[in-house]
Subunit: 281 residues, 2 copies
Amino acid sequence: MAGAGSAARGTGRLRPLTALASPDDPRIDAYRVIKERDLVGRGGRFILEGRTVLDVALSPRNRFAVESLLIAESRADALAPLLAQTPADVPIYTASQPILDGITGFHIHRGLLGVGLRGDMPTAAQVVAGLPAEALVVVALGITNHDNAGGIMRNAAAFGADAALFDFASCDPLYRKAIRVSVGGSLVVPFAREGTAHDLLDLLGANGFELVALSPAGAVELSHLARAPRTAVLLGAEGPGLPADVMARARTVRIAMKGDFDSLNVATTSGITLHALTNFT
Amino acid sequence: MAGAGSAARGTGRLRPLTALASPDDPRIDAYRVIKERDLVGRGGRFILEGRTVLDVALSPRNRFAVESLLIAESRADALAPLLAQTPADVPIYTASQPILDGITGFHIHRGLLGVGLRGDMPTAAQVVAGLPAEALVVVALGITNHDNAGGIMRNAAAFGADAALFDFASCDPLYRKAIRVSVGGSLVVPFAREGTAHDLLDLLGANGFELVALSPAGAVELSHLARAPRTAVLLGAEGPGLPADVMARARTVRIAMKGDFDSLNVATTSGITLHALTNFT
């Protein structure tokens, strides 16, 4: 069936699939040996992985275009409902599990991958210019861990943050693992990643944002914080935390903990803070 | 220097170190090819990894005995303050990085490991019997992911939960990775892991605990929940969540989110909930 169109079986809904007979097929070059740092720089693509992420990617919430899907042959039936949602102009490639693993250089969890296209990413200034008069923005400064970047984007999506800004020292929310940990939040929340912490603080200050810096040494406890109409929540890396010169420019806020173990994961910190500052009840 | 005692250098504080010349030295059998599932069943030991965890392990907060430490030779100077805190009867082994990696079968991050001893673990009934009249307990049901188990223990420690109970379907908070993610919280918060969800609910109910089940379908929003003097927070696995028969026995509570992306990580859920139910301000 190499290169021929087949169809999703057993569903009554036909969706053409393109079966691959070789891991070297040039049509799936974007999936080849997924080295994220390489891929990120190459043609503006990123990797979508797993059912939950693809569900978001194929929904109207996704801000990015999907270029193609690549699935394990054995999963075609189980994934038929998802594949039926896939726009007709998005090719769906299928391959046996060994060919799949050969293409990507690692074992594909649950046999479902996609490639997304960054397109024209907005600048931080464009993201901020697009915000409403009342807005909540999450700002990640020096967050280099992909799990944490993904966790922050998951929480930003869950609590409806209007945007996220990452400084250039932070990792990319579109890294494969960050997207996976975000369960698709990286595709939903408008974000930009650029510049230094102070570049981003300058931008936010000029646009009327109150800067709220989360730190165990913060002056105000979170539950006593009244949210300004425009609020930016600043998060630093675990360990070093936010630099003193960032803290000096912000209202500093702490999450009260038991005295002898004041240690929270930064993604958890974002969740606690966003829950405290939002109200969907 | 094989087998001979040397000493931490450059600190003025002498602490005998035992240098190893071979990965096959029987004195460090406990570290050999750290397969966690094997180790957990073998002699009641568990693995401590990295500086933050060892700091907690060597502090009075740790509820477990430390059997030995194993460090990379190259780290002896940098770790001298930590080693000086190590009780005299706890042997400290040193080895070159290749020998270290040969012992453990994987690369030792930052060159610092320890072995802890479970000793006589309390039963769930003993843990509950030891609680004060006002108490907050975290209950993990079917949490099989080590990151999440560790994250829950980290938050339990940070917010001063009095105990944690894990059903037997959950993973062990003393797995290597769970301890690491907990940044030592697994060593601090009294816990037991046994039985079914209903066994644990029976025990808590008989001891006057209000059962609070976290679920996106919960009847009460978290910020409207008044905490009973004895409260047990029930957490289920992401995806399936808590089973209906557990929900039926509990007061159900939700964390309000934006409607179209109601998805939180379970460790983050524990952090948001414990923050809402505790007050250290």
